[in-house]
Structures are given as structure tokens and as C-alpha cells.
Symmetry: C7
Subunit: 89 residues, 7 copies
Amino acid sequence: MKVIPLGERLLIKPIKEEKRTEGGIVLPDTAKEKPMKAEVIEIGKDVEDIDIKVGDKVIFSKYAGTEIKIDDEDYILIDQDDILAKVEE
Amino acid sequence: MKVIPLGERLLIKPIKEEKRTEGGIVLPDTAKEKPMKAEVIEIGKDVEDIDIKVGDKVIFSKYAGTEIKIDDEDYILIDQDDILAKVEE
Amino acid sequence: MKVIPLGERLLIKPIKEEKRTEGGIVLPDTAKEKPMKAEVIEIGKDVEDIDIKVGDKVIFSKYAGTEIKIDDEDYILIDQDDILAKVEE
Amino acid sequence: MKVIPLGERLLIKPIKEEKRTEGGIVLPDTAKEKPMKAEVIEIGKDVEDIDIKVGDKVIFSKYAGTEIKIDDEDYILIDQDDILAKVEE
Amino acid sequence: MKVIPLGERLLIKPIKEEKRTEGGIVLPDTAKEKPMKAEVIEIGKDVEDIDIKVGDKVIFSKYAGTEIKIDDEDYILIDQDDILAKVEE
Amino acid sequence: MKVIPLGERLLIKPIKEEKRTEGGIVLPDTAKEKPMKAEVIEIGKDVEDIDIKVGDKVIFSKYAGTEIKIDDEDYILIDQDDILAKVEE
Amino acid sequence: MKVIPLGERLLIKPIKEEKRTEGGIVLPDTAKEKPMKAEVIEIGKDVEDIDIKVGDKVIFSKYAGTEIKIDDEDYILIDQDDILAKVEE
């Protein structure tokens, strides 16, 4: 199944980072904060304001966008204005 | 009865997907989350911002649009801005 | 008494449809949902965005418009933007 | 005392209609709904969007405008956008 | 002390009218409604939308503007859009 | 430390006026109302709508602006639109 | 890891100032007010309204922006409109 974002939207895939408590315990997913880093999967054809390409890592606005499930994986459909920054590692 | 959406609206028909609980029980309709996938049925004549045709599958914004019943089936009248993505399977 | 809607407004007359419960009992008016289908009675002179004429049946946005009584019958003064669709039967 | 509405405002005088309960009792003023019919008294010089003249009867938006008292009579200063319709009897 | 309103603002001085209860008792100030009539004291240089000059009596929007005290007298700094009408006596 | 307001903002310094209760007691600072008079300290380079220069006394909108401390003194960074009037004494 | 702010955003690093209570006790971080001074780290390519360069100290609007962690240090992604002033020491 392919999801093509419309207008000024992008399809991004949140990157979950392992997080350990101070005591070194790895927390299960639900106990972590909502991730804010994502990989860009698809770009709507009207996305012109930001300089982003498929595969880029981005930081996105925490409560923005609409969560969807594709083949049991979590994705987010998000407006270009809610992509805050590009990350280079 | 034919419903012709006005202006920048579309008439879409939500697609209900069967959903099983982890124990394998098929949940009745009311226990499922509101569907977010729909088929495009009719397109208003001022819909110009998105590249969508009748029969396309789309993902729509969860709380957007107005639910109506046509011949006892559920449909949604929705603004083009609330169609988030096109789905190709 | 004639009511002429001003600007981009229309005067519409809600169509009440009989509704039976599953057991076949006809519900009195107050127990029904607010009707969303109406007949167009008068059209304000600045209504230009939608292709509607007097006598057309329309679907309107549930909580929009202002209810008025003319000769003890219920009517609604409503903005053209709140007319969602035209109905052909 | 003469009140000249400024800009796109009009001065209107609500018309109170007698209303009887089903049992035939005439209700005193405070028990009635706020009147929505009014006579146009004065028209501000920037009122151009609507075709209204002094003496016309109009229907106005229920919670719009500012109530004022002139010589112990109730009037309303109201924006032209809140005049919904003209009434001809 | 002279107060010169900036932009599209005016300085007005509310006119308190004596008000008697039905039994004829003169109410002290705090028991009265907030006055809505005022005299225009100063006019900001960008006030162009309304035809008002210093000394005019006006009716203003009840909850608009900012109350200030000058030499222990109450004044209001108010936007020209919140002056509803001119009063001629 | 010098604070240069950006865009259409000004840096102002509230003027605290002594206030006596009716019984003649001088109230300490916390019991007074928030001051609304201020001296203009710095003017952002895009302040063009109002005719104000450094050293002017102004009246500002009570809940507007952002309070900051410079060398233990209170200042306010405020938008030009929230400066209501100029005061000449 | 390098974070490049998009559009009209900047990446800033809050400057925490030591704060002593009146009794001279140094308060730990959580007991202090949120800092409002920051150093500019990166500037988005559409930041044109304000005259700011990397390394400048700025005052920012207290509740604006999105906090992120880079290599365990706190940063803020913030819109240029929420940078209130430049600080020169």
C-alpha cells in the first residue's frame, strides 16, 4: 500500500529512540515521550517552502499531524509548516 | 437519490476494515475506531487543489466533514482540504 | 409575509422525514435528530458561489443558520457556504 | 435625542409580538423569547452591502448588536452583516 | 496632564446619568450599569473612518477600550471601531 | 547590558506612582494595581505607526508585553500597537 | 548531530543564570523560572525580518518555541517573531 500525501503535506515515519532511565532500565514504548524525530517517506507535490527530500531526517512539531497505520507501522501525515528542522548526523 | 457536493466539497464513503482483537475476536462496528479510509464517490466542481478522481481511495482527517445517510448507508461530505492523502494498493 | 434573505443568504425549509425505531414505532418530532435536508425557498441576490435555484433540495450543515418562524412554519436563514450538497431524487 | 449610527451600523427598533401559551395565556415580556424582527430607524453612511431603507422591517441575528435605550424605549445598534433578511407583509 | 491617543484611538469621557429606581431612590455609582455615553476629548491622528469631532457625544461599545484616570477623573482610550453612534440632543 | 527591541517593539520602563488609600496610608508595591504609565527607553527600527521618541511618557495596554529584568530593574518589551497614548505633563 | 532550522525559525540555546534566594541559597534548576535569554546557534534561511547573527544573545518570548534535546543539552526551535530583543553586554 502506497500513501501519497496531498497538497503541502508530507508522510513521515517517527524514529523511536531507546531511552534508559537513570538506573539503566530500558523503558517500553508507552512509557517514553512521543518521538519528535522522523524520516521523510513521501513529499506532497505542493511542498515548496522547505528544502527537504525523501530520506531526510527531520524534527517535527509534537502535537501536529495525523497518525496513520500502514501495514501495522506508525506514520504521520503532516503539513510542511510543522516540520521544524532538518537533522544531519 | 443522488447527492452532488457543492463548491470545494467531495462525497466520500468510509471503508470499514475488519479488525480483530489480539485474541482473534472480530469486533462489532461500534467498538472500532472511526475509519479514516474512504472511496471518493462524487467531486464538487470547485475541487481544484487536489489530484483526485471518482473511485480513488483516500485518507481523510478524522473529525472533519459532515456524516450523512443515503439509502441507509453512511457517507461523508468533506472539504478538499481535509483529504490528507491518496492511497494506492 | 414574505422573507427576502440578504446578501449571501438563502431561506430554506427543513424537510422532516418520518423515522421509525427498529421496533417500528413512529417517533414524534422532538425525538428525531434535527433534519439536514431542506427545500430552497428564497435566494439572496449575492448567492453566486453555488449552483442552486428555488425548489432545489439541499443538504445543509447541521448547526448552521438561524431558525425563524413564518406563519407558524419553521424556516432557516442560512449562508450559502453552509449548503453542503444538492440532492436529486 | 437623535442617534446616528456610525460606519456600517444601523439603528433598529425591535418589534415585540404578543405571544400566547398553548393554554391561551398572554405572557409578560420577560417570559417571551428575545424578538428578532425590527424596524429600521437610522442607517449609517457606510451601509452599502444590503438593500435596506428607513422604515423597512428586518429579521436580525439574535445575539448580535448592542442594546441601547433612547427616551426609555429599547433600540439596537447593529452591523449590516447581522441583518439577515427583509420582511414584506 | 495631556493624553494624546495614538493611531486610530480616541480619548473619551463617560457621561454618568443619574438613574432612579422605580421607587424613586437615586442609586449610588456602583449600583448603576456602566455608562455607554461619552464626550469625545481627543482624537488620534489616524481616526479617519468615522465623522466625529472633539466635543461630540457618542455611544460606545460597553466592554471596549481601556479605562484610565487623569487627575482623578475617569476616561477611556478606545478604538474608532468601538464608537457605535453619534448622539445629537 | 543594552537591550535592543526587535521589529515593531519598544522597550519601556513602567513608572510607579505612589498611591494612598483613602485613609492616607501609602500602599506597598504589591498592593497597587499594575502601572500603566511608562517611559520609552529604546525603539525598534520597524516602529513606524506611532509618533514616539526615546524619553516620551506613554500609556500602555495593561496586560500586553513581556516583562524583563535588566540590572534588577523592571522593563517591558511591548509591541507598538499596545502603546495607547502619549502623555504630556 | 547538526540541526538546521527550517523557514523562519532559529535554533537557540537558553542561557541559565544562577539565581540566589534572598537568604543566599543557590536554587537548583527546577526551582528557577524558565530562562528567557539565549544564544543564537543556527538561523533558518527565511529569517529576514530581524537583524540577528549566529552568536548573538537574544531575549525570547517565554512560552514560545519547541524544546529539543541535542546530545543531552536543551535547545529551542523558535520562530523569528518570538525573538523579542537583542542583548549587548
